[in-house]
Amino acid sequence: MLILTEKLTKYYGRSRGIVDVDLQVREGEVFGFLGPNGAGKTTTIRLLLSFIRATSGRATVFGLDAGRDTLTIKERVGYIPGDVRLYEEMTGAAFLDYMAGFRPARKDRRRELAERLGINLSVRLKQASRGMKQKVAIIQAFTHDPDLFILDEPTSGLDPLVQNDFYGLLKEEQRRGKTVFLSSHILSEVEKVCDRVAIIRDGRIEVVEDIHSLKARRVKVMDVTFISELSPAALQVSGVTAVEGSGRHYRVSVKGDVNPVLQAVARHPVENLTFTDASLEDIFLEFYARDRQGGR
């Protein structure tokens, strides 16, 4: 295991950070760490990087103790913090030079990434937009060819096109055998790039699951407006978990395969139809419902 945590717990005084977090991240996978703000994602990452000390439990990275061997670990880690704050008086290039002074970085790789992300590194960071600073942070994490990327909400501040470039970058690194630990509160982001995902809520891991299983089980919401009125019974087909509305407007929740409901809808003239992803909260509710059914 590249990252292993066992009953990792952190309290800030009496406040809960994380409780009994067990994680196993395998070499070469892109592992998503999904949860709402304040769930404990950043606390877990800070423990892995030894910015803070665990109240109890243990964490290892590359088989090394996250606290005791932190310098050896950091040699091989590329990190992007959740709140990117750089030395404002420096240019992007000067900042990267400073960071490269601690860990040799490839200049050609820096140039390549700067071109790819479309950033001018000679701009003073004080004048840089949030997105530009995020790009500098990305370059900083990638230029020394780390074996493990620990990324805390890395796409915040990036426009959608650059986000896609970044996802591509992650996939390239994975193909080169690198491992990614990606924290996010955006479900669709995790779905795009991750192989497995752990969902954390209120400091506890709710589930660790293969991304395909998560996708298969996740609820999608369809809003449909028909040209003429329709009985809700016409939409009660396989995979549909709930039908709300009446007359011409319906909201249909679908789990798994959407084809049966699409076929049912297609039998009637449609004015408008949209699919939206279930929110993270819906996913949690689904897990809670499952837990309750399981007698937990």
């Binding site: 950043t42 990087l49 880690v77 709140d83 750089l86 960071m99 601690f102 900083q140």
Partner: protein, 267 residues
Amino acid sequence: MSDLANVFRRHFRRDRNALFIWGGLCGGFGLLIAVIYPSFAESLEGMLANYPEAFLRAFMGGTVPSFGTVEGFMALEYFSWIPVMYAAYAALAGAGMVAEETDRGTVEFLLAQPVRRSTVIAGKFLVFLVYLAGIVVVSALGLSGGLYAAGVDHSLRLFGHQFVSGYLVAMAYGAISLLISVLAGELRRATSVSLGVVFGTWFLLMAANLSERMELLGYLSPLCYAGATAVLERGSLPPGDVAVLLAITAVAFVAALVLFERKELAA
């Protein structure tokens, strides 16, 4: 390049304004005092007699030996102030060493690199010591240059000891401020507490000089050691005082290292 050199190089480049600002301030002060000295030279003993005794006790710890000489005059008018100016610079520099990075959030990037926390502190403290030395040199050039320009002979050796005394005092305050910087976490708090320590201990020393009952408290102030009068009387730096200042620096610096190594970085 080693990590220490990397930290040193960055902060040496970043903090160079300190040399211009504080060097200019202290050097300019020395130049001013040196240039006006000849107009006082002939009536120095009489001038001393006009100083209230309490003033002399508060700022010099008593009467000023050989006030009639340029060395005695400078002890009262220049070297009683200059360590406080150096100490104020030391407080500002020391307070920023850790608190600025934690306050601005840049510490997270820095410590995500494979660099020891103690190396970061050592590199920054080294830059402070170098610039402090630069400020002292500029001060000495201002004072001695001014005196030479005014045609006044003076003891370079004695002035050298006075400047080294100021350097050692400021070094101690720099280490204390570094410790405060680690403990405070916020730059504004670290800066105000550090300046408070400098001026608080200065006032404490003045109070101790004025009141016999408070005499012992004066020893709590780093400004008490290797003071201008003591150097003037002895003709050189008192070794015991130097040892005390070095000990304060070492204890505060090591405490800052140990605490920073253990410090949890706030999110």
